[in-house]
């Protein structure tokens, strides 16, 4: 019964709560749909946390997504041993940078008074959950290799069976507990998206990533700010 709840009930609950929660939060509390940047409060340590974490998690996330979407293509890729090794080493490397980045972010959050002052309870819950998730992920990569292949053979069919509303769980129930915990952790993260800073995935417009840099310009040189050539300079403004 517990297995059924975790691998059938929880995923559906997570997606329903996530969808309804995001719509509710966007309509009722639109100004909170943000990751609430703390770059103004502390910037030096942020770089060593945010950059490795975000790049790493994007690579790892899209790797999982690709294997879920095109399992046969993944198996075909893995059929050449060198390609399997390249895939696994790449995924493991970016997974490690996620761990390094997350550890740096957590250290910064707990040791910088200015950041601690804006930390919410859900920030701590989320970071704890992410830490467990990435540790389990790395553990699986090393301790139950080669995940890229068995994910395509066993977990992709399971996830598709959920999408088709016809859950097939026998194989998932038989997996080691670390892998089960990683799956449950993933659904839990989806579940809490609307209640945490993870809502920033859905910040509209979605061209957020590709937008021009925001420039914070201190109007120091009164003459320079009257020069129309400085206003939209793509590099460091001359008046700052």
């Amino acid at each position: 019964m517990l297995n059924l709840f975790l691998f059938v009930g929880l995923p559906y609950m997570a997606f329903i709560v996530c969808t309804v929660g995001i719509v509710y939060r966007y309509r009722r509390k639109g100004f909170t749909v943000s990751s609430l940047s703390s770059q103004f409060l502390e910037g030096k340590e942020l770089f060593w946390g945010s950059v490795p974490f975000h790049i790493g998690i994007l690579v790892v996330f899209f790797g999982h997504l690709t294997t879920f979407l095109v399992p046969r293509a993944t198996l075909a890729w893995n059929s050449i041993p060198v390609r399997l090794l390249i895939l696994e080493v790449t995924a493991f490397t970016f997974g490690l940078t996620v761990l390094i980045g997350l550890a740096a972010l957590m250290y910064r959050r707990f040791t910088t008074p200015r950041v601690r002052a804006v930390t919410t309870g859900m920030d701590i819950v989320l970071e704890g959950l992410l830490l467990a998730q990435v540790v389990f992920g790395l553990w699986i990569a090393l301790g139950y290799r080669w995940g890229a292949s068995w994910f395509a053979s066993d977990l992709s069919p399971y996830l598709w069976s959920l999408v088709k509303l016809s859950p097939e769980t026998t194989a998932v129930f038989a997996l080691p507990w670390v892998i089960k915990a990683h799956i449950v952790g993933a659904f839990t993260i989806v579940l809490i998206i609307p209640f945490t800073r993870l809502i920033h995935f859905f910040v509209a417009p979605l061209n957020y990533i590709a937008r021009p840099y925001q420039q914070v310009i201190w109007n120091w040189d009164r003459r320079a700010i009257r020069d129309p050539g400085t206003a939209w300079s793509p590099t460091q403004p001359r008046n700052n």
């Binding site: 009930g9 609950m13 080493v89 066993d154 097939e168």
Partner: protein
């Protein structure tokens, strides 16, 4: 989290409980014969003699129904409890452990009824896939094992989950058992039966609707026999250690690369320069 958000969570839990309770036991909606063929047949015969595990003819007269239900559902737990019959069975089949089967009491009773029915019908043929086949090609088997030759029906390569000590294949997966000594442990017919008709849920799902051909089964069995016999001659690389070391090294390089790409980044708070200027200007 606001109170309304809390309501969403409560409603979600309700939906999840409903969904959990309303899942019909799809995997379990099978009768004794179907369960026997999908779960037991790879390792057991009914009157056909010992295969990977014991011949099940007369099993209901050897053990009580309650014992059989407990053992089929949780064999390792029963062995660990010190039950003398279970311990004797484990000693008779060293290195082989029967998986726990997620079957209900009634489903196990269905399987036992099917076994009794088959006993009265006479000895059954040996398990599917265990019939005598032409000796396979170990080189083809090696290529199939590590995926350089794909299975005709598109199944995943064996090394996704299994390792084998052999220098000509890359280190295999460690999700499932190491197969280096599988030939010694299970014998030829046992290996052939399991490869041809996998009884383990994870392997079953991976090859569901993508079964191996007889030629592929024969080739894999030949490769595993060869690997077992030649294991002392092979000293393959440690791929687990390689993955760890390469990953750590690559992560360090990646961090250096980030530092280089963002070398013009601000190294302090955005407003530090502003404060500094104010200090200078006073």
């Amino acid at each position: 989290m606001g109170s309304r958000s809390g309501h969403f969570l409560v409603a979600g839990v309700g939906v999840a409980m409903f969904l959990t309770a309303s899942i019909p036991g799809r995997a379990f909606a099978q009768d004794g014969e179907t369960i026997f063929n999908g779960t037991c047949k790879a390792c057991h015969t009914i009157g056909g003699g010992r295969l990977v595990g014991p011949d099940l003819a007369g099993v209901s007269t050897r053990q009580s129904e309650a014992w059989l239900i407990a053992f089929i559902q949780h064999s390792q737990t029963v062995i660990a409890s010190g039950d003398s019959d279970a311990v004797a069975l484990a000693a008779e089949y060293p290195g082989i452990s029967m998986p726990d089967w997620p079957l209900s009491d009634d489903q196990v009773r269905g399987v036992l009824a099917y076994i009794q029915q088959q006993e009265s019908a006479g000895p059954a043929p040996v398990a599917a896939g265990a019939a005598s086949l032409q000796p396979g090609d170990p080189v083809l088997g090696r290529n199939l094992f590590q995926g350089t030759t794909r299975f005709d029906n598109g199944g995943p390569a064996c090394n996704s989950c299994h390792d084998v000590t052999h220098e000509d294949v890359i280190g295999g997966g460690i999700l499932a058992k190491d197969l280096t000594t599988v030939f010694t442990r299970l014998g030829g017919p046992g290996v052939r039966a399991i490869v041809g008709s996998p009884p383990f849920p994870v392997m079953q799902r991976a090859f569901q609707s993508r079964p191996l051909t007889d030629q592929e089964v024969g080739a894999l069995v030949a490769f595993l026999e060869q690997a077992d016999a030649e294991q002392s001659l092979h000293q393959p690389l440690d791929y687990g250690l390689g993955l760890l070391v390469t990953g750590l090294g690559s992560a360090v390089i990646l961090l250096g690369l980030y530092s280089l790409i963002w070398r013009r980044r601000r190294r302090g708070p955005v407003n530090r320069a502003v404060f500094d200027r104010q200090v200078r200007s006073t």
